[in-house]
């Protein structure tokens, strides 16, 4: 008869211990809703200094309080973190998501439809940037800024060789030859096989877009004639050793742009802040120009990964307030000006007359030898090809594209083949996922 109590005691002890172990874990779970006080929102972003804009919002609003949660840049793990949190049912309210990534987030069912809260504000934003957040006539993102691409170049290096910024791709090739001939360590640019948005900006500017959403299926044309022409151009530069095969934004690349061994960088407008931040000693030696053109006299441009928007993640308990915050931060001139000054990119706000950071930016202009580089990027942004669309599974596209281009460079196989293989890989990946692809 003595056994049952002992067993019970044992079970009790085990249960108590279990509780003791689990209780602290449970304490980590998010707390309940506060009944009073402002609505608390979290905002996941990797843009440095963006808390300036958020603080301004918090100061003006008593009913909403936003906390910034700094995370790794999207492609470096930030997106994975957001998607995992959505899957776990515990997401941030507002998140920083690139235009290129929106369709992929939608594919993962990670975005909240905010049409009812946001649709009325559509006119505030540049049309093409607004439309990057609209799918099936529903609004899923508030545009923040785009990354119109231009050339940043070392004016001192080009000047010393009697060169000016190449206006066409033919001039680019000739300039590349002069630069490399002057010093075998010097190159006009790095060939960044690691950088999918760079490769895609080159393809976007070349002409035909890669993806187009039809009524019920996608057409995919990564191996289109325009892209292959672009690939053949860079093949020529690679074959003649006129570009340096090197990852951009890597340590060796930073060393090279400081020394002038890599004399230019084709990148988004926000790259001005990256260059001045990482190579402060080269202040005054830089200038910016539009992308070289395929047809002389045109102004065709492209965007680096599109740009960035603020979305309300699926599972947020306050979609209305979250949308209000996103609209305020990106849709009021003062806030857009703050964002521009911290290097968020080219503002999505349609009326840029009140964005003082674009006209009154002495530090940036000084770094670029007194040039108002924002004039250049205003032209670039106006001429970004509007028909370019970002597909779902964009991460698969980035991974296969860079893998294939790297392999072509490594094995010295034709660059055109890399784009052809990416076409096959991407169509297969989309079909595997159940997405309809038109033949």
């Amino acid at each position: 008869m003595s056994q049952p109590p002992a067993t019970r005691r044992r079970v009790f002890a085990a249960a108590a211990l279990t509780l003791a172990v689990i209780a602290p874990l449970a304490a980590c779970a998010p707390g309940g809703e506060a009944s009073d006080g402002p609505v608390e929102l979290t905002f996941q972003t990797w843009v440095p200094n963006i808390d300036k804009a958020v603080d301004a919002f918090n100061e003006e609003h008593d009913d909403i309080h936003v906390t910034v949660e700094a995370i790794a840049a999207g492609p470096d793990g930030g997106y994975a973190k957001m998607l995992s949190a959505v899957a776990a049912g515990n997401p941030a309210d507002v998140a920083h998501v690139g235009y290129d990534e929106l369709a992929t987030f939608l594919l993962n069912d990670a975005l909240t439809d905010i049409t009812e809260y946001a649709a009325d504000d559509a006119d505030k934003f540049t049309d093409w940037q607004w439309k990057t957040g609209v799918f099936n006539d529903k609004v899923y993102g508030i545009p923040q800024a785009s990354g119109p691409v231009g050339q940043f170049y070392r004016k001192d290096v080009l000047d010393s060789l009697g060169l000016s910024a190449p206006a066409t791709w033919d001039e680019y090739y000739e300039a590349a030859k002069v630069i490399h001939a002057s010093d075998p360590n010097k190159y006009i640019a790095a060939f960044a096989a690691n950088q999918a948005p760079w490769l895609m900006a080159l393809a976007q500017q070349a002409g035909q877009p890669w993806f187009e959403a039809g009524d019920d299926s996608w057409s995919v044309a990564i191996d289109n004639p325009d892209t292959l022409r672009m690939a053949e151009f860079w093949q020529k530069l690679l074959d003649e050793d006129l570009v340096k095969v090197e990852a951009d934004m890597s340590n060796e690349w930073y060393t090279d742009i400081k020394s002038g061994n890599v004399a230019s960088w084709m990148s988004g407008s926000w790259a001005a802040a990256i260059i001045s931040g990482n190579a402060p000693e080269t202040s005054g030696l830089w200038a910016a120009a539009e992308m070289p053109q395929w047809v002389a006299g045109e102004h065709v441009s492209a965007s680096w990964g599109g740009g960035a928007s603020n979305v309300v993640l699926k599972g947020s308990k306050h979609p209305k307030e979250a949308t209000e915050f996103a609209l305020w931060m990106n849709g009021t001139p003062a806030s857009a000006s703050t964002l521009t000054s911290i290097g968020a990119g080219w503002p999505a706000l349609e009326d840029k007359s009140e964005i003082t950071a674009l006209t009154d930016d002495p530090e940036t202009f000084e770094f670029f030898g007194g040039q108002n580089i924002w004039d250049t990027f205003a032209v670039a942004d106006d001429n970004v090809d509007r028909s370019w669309q970002w597909p779902p599974l964009v991460d698969t596209l980035y991974a296969t594209l860079t893998d294939n281009v790297k392999a072509a460079v490594e094995n010295k196989t034709p660059l055109t083949g890399a784009f052809e293989k990416t076409q096959d890989d991407m169509v297969k990946a989309m079909e595997d996922k159940g997405i309809a692809v038109a033949e």
């Binding site: 003595s2 799918f135 959403a213 779902p392 980035y398």
Partner: protein
């Protein structure tokens, strides 16, 4: 009376069992929560996939697909290549690691080494450097424009590209060797320390030289330790991950599916396909399992020992 003795006789084992339970519960609980459960979760996950339809703008659905993810993983050329690559890497790395750490340990414990304790610590120190940091450091040394070593060699007309396609596996093997040889050496040293000194004495009296002592006393006694080190190294090499991940941006020779673990990581965290990633992870685990137990079986055959 009989009932009392019986109950006192029983109380003790009962108390012991209670103690045992209390001591075991935390371990079992955490083992279950952080080891068994995730493995089970990964296996279950690997049997599902997330499917969309049309343009992919609607909510996707999770469907049970049985072994389709496994079939897809094994039908992906880059994943199969990555398995071949780590096997090749193991062929390079495992013998290097075992021989190198064994030689280091034997030298330090030969009784003729100067400052053996100091050198033991020095050799072990790289193990204290986290893999990511070690790979970053070596990354600097491997890239010509940031590497003082390569720059000096280049002045003598010797141009090396350690991260080129032909040499990148050796470059990674070097990092792994640098990081783990000291650790494995320490395991072997510990084992050597437990060899009773009389054995050496007896051998010397019998006229054995240093090499004979190594051959006939040290190596046979080290056998279980060396087997252990080998199994650890096999598992470690098949799970190669950090070094190629960190070196990837520095070279065109490392793609996102360079090793099976990297491929799984890429699927899970870059391409948001955790189901395929789970299948890949299970395949890697199975391969590591087969190779480590295959090796143990090979060296433990009764009466037919390798040495």
């Amino acid at each position: 009376m009989t009932s009392i003795t019986r109950s006192t006789a029983r109380r003790k084992p009962l108390k012991q069992r209670l103690t045992l339970t209390v001591l075991l519960v935390p371990f079992v609980l955490f083992f279950a929560a952080f080891f068994v459960l995730p493995i089970g979760y990964a296996i279950v996950d690997s049997l599902f996939t997330v499917r969309s339809s049309g343009l992919g703008f609607g909510a996707p659905e999770k469907v049970f697909v049985f072994f389709e993810n496994y079939a897809r993983a094994l039908a992906t050329p880059s994943f199969v290549e990555s398995i071949g690559r780590v096997l090749l890497f193991a062929v390079i790395e495992v013998p290097l690691m075992v021989v190198f750490s064994l030689v280091l340990a034997l030298l330090l414990e030969s009784g003729k080494a100067h400052f053996p304790r100091v050198f033991r610590v020095i050799y072990f120190m790289p193990y204290g450097v986290p893999g990511v940091i070690a790979s970053l450091l070596w990354g600097f040394l491997y890239v010509p424009s940031t590497s003082p070593v390569l720059q000096i060699l280049s002045n003598f007309g010797l141009d090396f590209t350690p991260l080129g396609g032909d040499s990148v596996l050796f470059a990674i093997a070097n990092i792994a060797l640098w990081g783990f040889a000291g650790y494995n050496m320490l395991i072997i040293v510990a084992s050597l320390k437990s060899v009773p000194g009389e054995l050496y004495e007896a051998a010397r009296i019998d006229g054995a030289g240093e090499f004979a002592i190594i051959r006939h006393i040290k190596l046979p006694l080290l056998r279980p330790t060396v087997v252990l080190v080998t199994v650890f190294t096999i598992i470690g090499t098949l799970q190669l991950f950090v070094e190629p991940l960190v070196l990837k941006p520095l070279t065109t020779a490392i793609n996102s599916d360079f090793t099976p673990n990297l491929a799984a990581y890429n699927q899970a965290f870059a391409q948001s396909n955790p189901n395929l990633a789970a299948a890949m992870a299970v395949i890697v685990a199975l391969i590591a399992f087969v190779f480590s137990f295959g090796f143990l079986k090979l060296v433990n055959r009764k009466g037919n020992r390798a040495w």
